[in-house]
């Protein structure tokens, strides 16, 4: 089981924080900051876990996820979604789009670490 995470997040400070937390736990973290070429980036990096923000410039996290789920290579990719809106609607939309886990910002470092771990440990 690989330990490669792709983080798609447009807020540089948040991306920096997550990268730091996961690095420390032994994960290799790639980052990407917009929605429009996120899918291509996934195909290019072939991560073991995808962390996907909802509010992205270009295309929303939901759109990106739907595209990923529609393709066989990424249909079963473990995906953790992040949202800053914190509304029930977003959680439902995330589940519909095929997210495995869903975390509302702001989150604790332990929470995001546990979530990423749980996605690679069956």
């Amino acid at each position: 089981m690989g330990r490669h995470v792709l983080l798609i997040e447009d807020e540089p400070h948040i991306a920096e924080a997550i990268r730091f937390i996961l690095n420390r736990d032994g994960w290799q973290v790639s980052t990407h900051a917009n929605g429009q070429d996120a899918v291509a980036r996934v195909h290019a990096t072939r991560p073991d876990v995808l962390i996907l923000d909802v509010m992205l410039p270009g295309a929303s996290g939901f759109e990106v996820l739907s595209q990923l789920r529609a393709q066989p290579e990424t249909a079963n990719l473990p995906v953790l979604m992040l949202t800053a809106k914190g509304q029930g609607r977003d959680r439902e939309a995330a589940e519909r789009a095929g997210a495995d886990l869903f975390i509302t910002k702001p989150f604790s470092n332990a929470e995001i670490l546990a979530s990423v771990r749980s996605l690679v440990t069956p």
Partner: protein
């Protein structure tokens, strides 16, 4: 006999009549007066034919012209005995069409023409006025007879007072009982009964005088016959032309006189009464005429030379000292006069009110005036008409000065109303008769009557100059009123009767043949001419209603299932196993009611009438149908209106709802945005503060993370500041700090302040400081805030390699325009209005720390400063324009 007693007796008699009418009216209202509607009362009421003219005048007539007076009785007798079918048709039509007067009959027959109604009304009023005057005169004269020998100075003023009292009293009586209420059929039970009582009184009085003359003065019938034989009356030669003419005339009068039409047709409550009247009325006339010749003969013999033969009935008993008998005779004459005047006034007032006053009022009143109280108005108009008719009669009496020969006036009236005969008979028996024909015939006949008979009757030079009478108008001899077309040497009355009726009839027939009747006229014509055909049997069951036809019709109206169910239930109720019940009256009435529920009563009635072969569909029915249709249309129009209103209301509601939903969506989006904007810096702050709390990292790294926390905290604060600012600006509760400030200084300050945004970029600022030397009265801090925002945006987003910003100031009257134009690629067209919305940051790529509230705040600030801010399209670059007033007044800011 003391005059006072006479007056008292008259008063008592009138009060008695009042009582009779009153009691009968009461009982009729209670429904307990069936016997009052008996054939006997009907027949007696017909005796209004016998007026004071017949009562007093017949004796005078006999004394002057021998047996000719009989023609006046022979005409009606012939009509009642020989023309009963004509009377029956008249009565039938009168009841079917709910005719209220002879004018109404003619107008109704010719398509409800009010013109004809007016013409007939005018003829009747003109012809009846002298006749009413005649009655007033006879009553006045008879008073005079009593007063004359005893009281000295029974002079003209007193006679006038008597006549005015009589006229006034009659008007009061007629108004009281003729217009107590409004019946659709215009029947007056009380009055008719009083008239019947008067008929008995006048018959008894005349018979009593006759018996007194034959057995009291002469010694029995044989003696009287010999006295007649020897008197000059026996010498009178019968003039065949005059007899024929007079019989025809009185025959016409008995059906055309307004008062006769009133009792004969309008007051008729049962067609079968005619059967009794057809023999009883001639009998009554015969009794009335029985002693005329004996009284005349004895009068001529016993009374002094030169005494008025018209008053023999009174003067003969009086001269013999028979005060009681004279009193009875007086009451008889009084009865004759009053009954005629009362009935004539009722009949004429109905016509005047219905055909003149009401149409005038209806056309004069404002459209859509209240229709609720028409009844009272009709009654008022009737009462005024009665007063007017009697007033006319009184005026005529006063003006004519009281001609001595009563009979002449009566016959002249007869010829006048006889003009109605062609139109009436034509209407009853000839479907081709038209309105135009009737109008022309009536008009010509009336004109000839007036010219040849009525106007000359006032005497030479009264109305028609003597020269015209003698030589014709403008010397045209053939137009001499009493010798038209050179026909000379015949009796003026017969002359006028002949020419007027001849021209009347000829014009009526000719124009009827030439003109075409309108639709209503055609239908009315058919209803009149065929009055008996469809309604031979008033009973439904005998009318031959075909149940199947009824079922077909009912199915069309009620729907197949419902109609079948109704018919089946009815059939079962009749004990029949089949679907079709017998057309019994109960069934037909039930069906009519059922249909009425769907199509309205009048329509239902008309349909059933057609199928059940009841009466022909009358114009009233059709009018009612039309009324119903109009009501339904009005109703549906109202419904439509309501529907439209509802639709409008629904649309408004929907719009409001959409707006609310939109606002709600916007609010949700706004909250969601705020949430996002708050949580994002929070996330960084929390994550890095947790990282820092764990320690164990190089110091420079920790410092870097602490700086991030600091930056995000500032971002958070700014967001909160902006939100607060916006909410104050939006709610309009912002405190403006107004003062005079130099625009150039404000721009200077804004440029310096905005320089902190992306300080690495070098901007070429182009401005014309001279044009900026404007002193504005505004809130300079707020305005500068807007400038800073616009300049910062340019610094943040201008994508040109060598960025420049042009600030252009212009004064336009009392307003100032400031443009900020950079040389970047600008904002896409579809987003140009969007940028002023909250959180409308177009792109997140070039983050400058704002939350997307900047332009929204600018917009609110400018609104508070009485100005605007907008994106200036078509510049090919980012261009914002601010306008604001030179002098902002406090009121505008609030």
């Amino acid at each position: 006999m003391p005059f006072n007693i006479l007056v008292l007796a008259s008063l008592a008699y009138v009060i008695f009549l009042f009582l009779v009418a009153f009691v009968v009216e009461r009982r009729a209202a209670a429904g307990a007066a069936r016997w009052l509607r008996s054939p006997l009362v009907y027949t007696l009421s017909l005796s209004v034919y016998c007026t004071a003219w017949t009562f007093y005048g017949a004796v005078g007539y006999a004394a002057r012209s021998g047996l000719e007076y009989l023609t006046i009785y022979l005409g009606p007798t012939l009509v009642f005995v020989g023309w009963w079918w004509l009377l029956r048709k008249l009565v039938r039509i009168g009841r079917q069409q709910r005719v209220t007067s002879i004018a109404d009959l003619i107008s109704s027959r010719y398509g409800k023409s009010n013109l004809l109604g007016v013409i007939v009304t005018v003829i009747c009023v003109v012809a009846a006025t002298p006749y009413i005057a005649l009655q007033l005169q006879s009553v006045t004269l008879s008073f005079g007879v009593f007063a004359g020998p005893t009281a000295d100075g029974w002079a003209m003023p007193d006679r006038d007072i008597t006549s005015i009292w009589v006229a006034g009293g009659l008007a009061a009586f007629t108004i009281l009982f003729g217009t107590r209420n409004l019946d659709a059929k215009e029947q007056h039970t009380g009055v008719v009964t009083a008239i019947a009582v008067e008929a008995v009184v006048k018959l008894v009085a005349l018979l009593a005088v006759g018996i007194f003359v034959v057995w009291g003065l002469a010694s029995g019938p044989a003696d009287i016959l010999s006295r007649i034989q020897s008197s000059e009356i026996a010498e009178w030669q019968m003039k065949p032309s005059r007899w024929t003419g007079l019989i025809l005339l009185s025959a016409a009068a008995v059906i055309c006189l307004p008062r006769m039409f009133q009792v004969l047709v309008v007051e008729n409550s049962d067609e079968r009464h005619l059967a009794t009247a057809s023999w009883a009325f001639p009998l009554y006339l015969m009794l009335m005429s029985l002693f005329v010749v004996p009284i005349a003969v004895m009068g001529l013999e016993l009374m002094p030379e030169g005494s008025n033969p018209d008053l023999f009935v009174l003067t003969l008993p009086l001269s013999q000292g028979q005060g009681g008998l004279a009193m009875l005779a007086f009451l008889g004459g009084f009865s004759s006069a009053t009954s005629m005047v009362i009935v004539a006034a009722i009949a004429l007032s109905t016509m005047v009110s219905n055909h003149v006053v009401m149409p005038l009022w209806l056309s004069l009143r404002p459209a859509r005036a209240v229709s609720g109280d028409v009844r009272r108005l009709v009654l008022l108009s009737r009462r005024l008409s009665i007063a007017a008719v009697l007033g006319l009669g009184y005026a005529y009496f006063r003006l004519s000065g009281g001609s001595e020969a009563l009979a002449a006036i009566g016959l002249i009236s007869f010829v006048g109303v006889a003009q109605i005969l062609p139109a009436m008979l034509g209407g009853l028996f000839w479907r081709g008769a038209t309105r135009a024909g009737a109008v022309l015939g009536l008009t010509i006949g009336f004109a000839i009557w007036a010219y040849a008979l009525f106007l000359p009757s006032f005497g030479p030079d009264a109305v028609i100059p003597a020269r015209v009478l003698a030589e014709g108008p403008f010397g045209m001899g053939w137009l001499r009123p009493q010798a038209l077309f050179g026909v000379e040497g015949i009796d003026p009355l017969i002359h006028a009767l002949f020419w007027s009726l001849a021209f009347n009839t000829a014009a009526f027939c000719a124009l009827s043949l030439m003109s075409f009747p309108g639709p209503v006229e055609r239908m009315q014509g058919a209803a009149f001419v065929n009055a008996f055909e469809d309604s031979a049997a008033p009973n439904w069951a005998q009318g031959g209603a075909d149940p199947e036809a009824l079922l077909v019709m009912a199915q069309r109206i009620l729907g197949e299932e419902e109609a079948l169910a109704f018919f089946e239930a009815q059939a079962r109720a009749q004990g029949k196993a089949a679907y079709l019940p017998d057309p019994t009256p109960a069934f037909i009435e039930g069906l009519e009611r059922r249909l009425a529920g769907s199509v309205g009563a009048a329509t239902a009635h008309a349909m059933i009438s057609q199928l059940a072969g009841r009466a022909a569909v009358s114009v009233e029915d059709l009018m009612a149908v039309a009324n119903e249709a109009a009501q339904i249309m009005e109703y549906s129009a109202r419904l439509e209106e309501q529907q439209e209103e509802l639709t409008r209301a629904a649309r408004q509601l929907r719009e409001v709802n959409e707006k609310l939903t939109q606002i709600s969506v916007q609010k949700d989006a706004f909250l969601s945005q705020i949430s996002h904007e708050l949580r994002t810096p929070m996330t960084s702050i929390r994550a890095f503060s947790e990282i820092l709390m764990e320690g164990d990292m190089p110091a420079d790294m920790a410092t870097g993370y602490a700086r991030i926390i600091h930056e995000e905290a500032i971002r958070l604060t700014r967001l909160l500041d902006d939100l607060l600012d916006l909410s104050v600006l939006e709610s309009g509760t912002v405190q403006l700090n107004l003062g005079l400030a130099n625009l150039r200084e404000m721009i200077d300050r804004a440029l310096a302040s905005a320089g902190h945004t992306r300080p690495e970029r070098r901007f070429d600022i182009q401005r014309d400081p001279a044009s900026e030397e404007i002193f504005l009265r505004t809130d300079s801090d707020r305005l500068t805030q807007v400038f800073i925002n616009l300049i910062s945006n340019a610094r943040k987003y201008c994508d040109a390699a060598a960025p420049e910003l042009r600030i252009h100031v212009r004064r336009k009257g009392a307003r100032v325009t400031i443009d900020f134009i950079d040389n970047g690629s600008g904002i896409p067209k579809d987003q140009q209005t969007l940028i002023f919305e909250k959180f409308a940051r177009l792109t997140d790529q070039t983050r400058a720390g704002g939350a997307g509230l900047g332009l929204a705040i600018c917009r609110e600030v400018m609104a508070n400063l009485g100005g605007t801010i907008g994106y200036l399209p078509g510049q090919g670059r980012a261009a914002f324009r601010i306008t604001l007033p030179l002098r902002l007044e406090r009121a505008a800011a609030e």
